[in-house]
């Protein structure tokens, strides 16, 4: 992807700075401002005392005169927020691990073992990727209830893979395809079993793909909302997105400070993870589309 980076600019250097400023930097700056403003606003509201939050005449709304940790303190000590955070971590990590394991096996089988009908199974898995959760949540709620999983982490851990496995499998199939088959043939001739080949050759070589799939799957499950909203009812079992929306609003009283603190602190872990693995994340996102 980055190979064409340096050459793609052609005669760009001939352009004068003012011209380029109006053609590129200014519109880019405006778009980035538009994209980042809600985050700034979230952060400002988190650290702003109530007195400033609701008084635009006396205090300029864009600044904080007396920053406070009051909202964060309220969030962490007066609500179930720590539990939501814990649930979100447990659910995201478990469903990501389950999905990665299932997807690695499935992608290897489809792409390398080429069993009878593997092409059709691959296609079916791709179609599964296109089924949106908004269609599935009602029957899934019925199933989750029947299985006795309702209102527990397990309900989410088992249902999140429905959108993670198709995505991960599809992505990993693409990565496995790029590994020369000759390597596997050599190993086969040397007497390695398929499992050994997968563990010692294919998987190490496609590690970037596995990381990409894992990071993306983790953020997807961290962000998931509709299943968590439907399958969980008691406050201590909720995930961050659901807890923030349902528990921090008492009737008509919106605790804006706490809401914003929840939004900010709930986003930070994903953003940190993302910032470490930007390249992997981007390649997962674009890889799934490019195939």
């Amino acid at each position: 992807m980055s190979t064409t980076d340096d050459q793609s600019v052609g005669m760009d250097y001939l352009e004068s700075f003012p011209r380029k400023f109006f053609r590129v930097y200014l519109p880019l700056g405006l778009i980035i401002f538009f994209l980042l403003f809600p985050f700034y606003w979230m952060a400002v509201a988190t650290f702003k005392p109530d007195a400033e939050m609701y008084d635009y005449e006396k205090y300029n709304p864009f600044w904080i005169v007396h920053p406070t940790l009051e909202h964060i303190k309220k969030l962490f000590f007066d609500t179930d927020y720590p539990l939501w955070m814990w649930n979100t971590v447990i659910v995201s990590v478990s469903s990501t691990c389950i999905s990665l394991f299932a997807s690695v096996c499935a992608a290897y089988a489809i792409e390398r073992l080429r069993y009878k009908g593997s092409r059709y199974v691959g296609l079916a898995i791709f179609l599964g990727y296109l089924v949106p959760p908004s269609i599935l949540f009602i029957p899934l709620a019925a199933i989750v209830f029947q299985l006795g999983l309702f209102d527990g982490n397990l309900a989410l851990i088992l249902t999140y893979p429905t959108f993670l496995i198709p995505f991960c499998t599809w992505l990993l199939m693409g990565y496995f395809r790029t590994i020369p088959y000759e390597l596997e043939e050599c190993a086969l001739i040397d007497g390695a079993t398929r499992l050994q080949i997968l563990m010692k050759i294919t998987l190490p070589l496609s590690l970037p793909g596995v990381i990409s799939a894992g990071i993306f799957a983790f953020t997807l499950s961290w962000n998931e909302f509709i299943y968590a909203l439907t399958f969980i009812s008691s406050s201590e079992n909720k995930t961050i997105p659901v807890g923030a929306i349902t528990e921090l609003v008492n009737g008509d009283v919106y605790h804006w400070g706490a809401l914003m603190a929840a939004a900010l602190t709930g986003s930070v872990p994903v953003v940190i993870l993302y910032s470490f693995f930007v390249e992997y994340y981007v390649s997962a996102m674009t890889g799934a589309v490019k195939e």
Binding site: S8, Y56, A142, T159, R194, I240, M285, T286, V289, K290
Partner: protein, 315 residues
């Protein structure tokens, strides 16, 4: 690779391990598929089928339903709220997707320029897509607040309006507000994936066009757009699917209000099925989304085939 493996197998004296590994390929393949297939059948295929069935029953939460055929659809077809939600969904999808495509493509072209801190800029641009939608929607909720909206405040200070805009209280204001939030979330996805497509276009094409005296617009029209069209088709299909079935933004910002004017089919089905307890009716509303989704997928599939064929591909 079966073709490659066959002659080798014929020449080499078969050891038992080789034979087993080769002969049990299908069995082994099936074994490897078990975890994925088990989860997908139990929690994807079965619910999909169950959804069709539920849509034809009058199931309520906590009680078994009976088969009532197309009764749910008949009653929905007389239900003005349902038709309003269909209209809203289509409006939401068309308006948001069109703008997302326009801004996304523009942003992708801007990011494809020579820029300082390019990879950092790209990482920042993608943030709205990474952050949990519900949590950023909370920020939008606050931005659209009727008394403390920062947009209203700035516009009043600038002297452009005289009183606070009621973003979420008026039907059309509310519709445009959620569309704007959706655009905000969707632009990075479109831009970054299109950027990946742009980077695969060979610079030599542009150099050749430059030598032939092509203008910027001509280069865009005759090189960038045709080379990018397959990826545009895929990206926009995904974008349309995500927008059409959107739930989180609406549920967080408006809950379908004011007076159902922002209800999408997904939020309406949630309201009827989970809040209202009529699982059957809710499932029928979800099922009503499927024809639209299939149409969108087929459209892009055939669009893709055509553009691949134009570029000299086999299919």
């Amino acid at each position: 690779m079966a073709v490659m493996a066959e002659p080798v197998a014929a020449q080499v004296k078969r050891s038992s391990l080789w034979t087993r590994a080769f002969e049990s390929r299908h069995f082994l393949g099936a074994m490897f598929m078990v975890p994925a297939i088990a989860i997908l059948i139990l929690f994807l295929a079965y619910p999909l089928a169950l959804g069709f069935w539920l849509g034809m029953t009058d199931t309520k939460i906590g009680g078994a339903g009976r088969f009532i055929g197309f009764q749910n659809f008949v009653s929905l077809s007389k239900d003005s709220v349902f038709w309003l939600s269909v209209f809203n969904t289509i409006f939401y999808t068309v308006a948001a997707s069109a703008v997302k495509f326009a801004i996304g493509l523009y942003l992708a072209l801007l990011l494809n320029e020579r820029l300082p801190f390019k990879s950092m800029v790209r990482a920042i641009v993608l943030l709205p897509f990474v952050v949990p939608t519900v949590l950023s929607a909370i920020a939008f909720w606050w931005i659209y607040d009727s008394q403390f909206s920062i947009i209203s405040w700035v516009l009043i200070k600038a002297g452009l309006i005289t009183r606070y805009i009621d973003f979420l209280g008026d039907p059309w204001n509310a519709r445009w507000s959620v569309v704007a939030a959706n655009i905000w979330r969707g632009v990075p996805f479109v831009a970054i994936t299109l950027l990946a497509g742009l980077q695969t276009i060979s610079p030599s094409l542009y150099e050749a066009a430059n030598l032939d005296g092509a203008t910027n617009l001509q280069r865009f029209r005759h090189i960038t757009l045709p080379m990018l069209s397959p990826i545009i088709a895929v990206v926009m299909t995904f974008s349309v699917l995500m927008t059409f079935t959107d739930f989180q933004l609406i549920y967080t910002i408006t809950r379908g209000g004011p007076i159902n004017s922002t209800h999408l089919m997904a939020t309406l089905s949630f309201q009827r099925a989970i809040t209202g307890g009529n699982l059957g009716e809710g499932a029928a509303i979800s099922n009503a989304m499927i024809p639209f989704l299939v149409a969108a997928i087929l459209l892009s599939f055939f669009g893709l085939q055509r553009s691949r064929w134009q570029q000299g591909g086999r299919d």
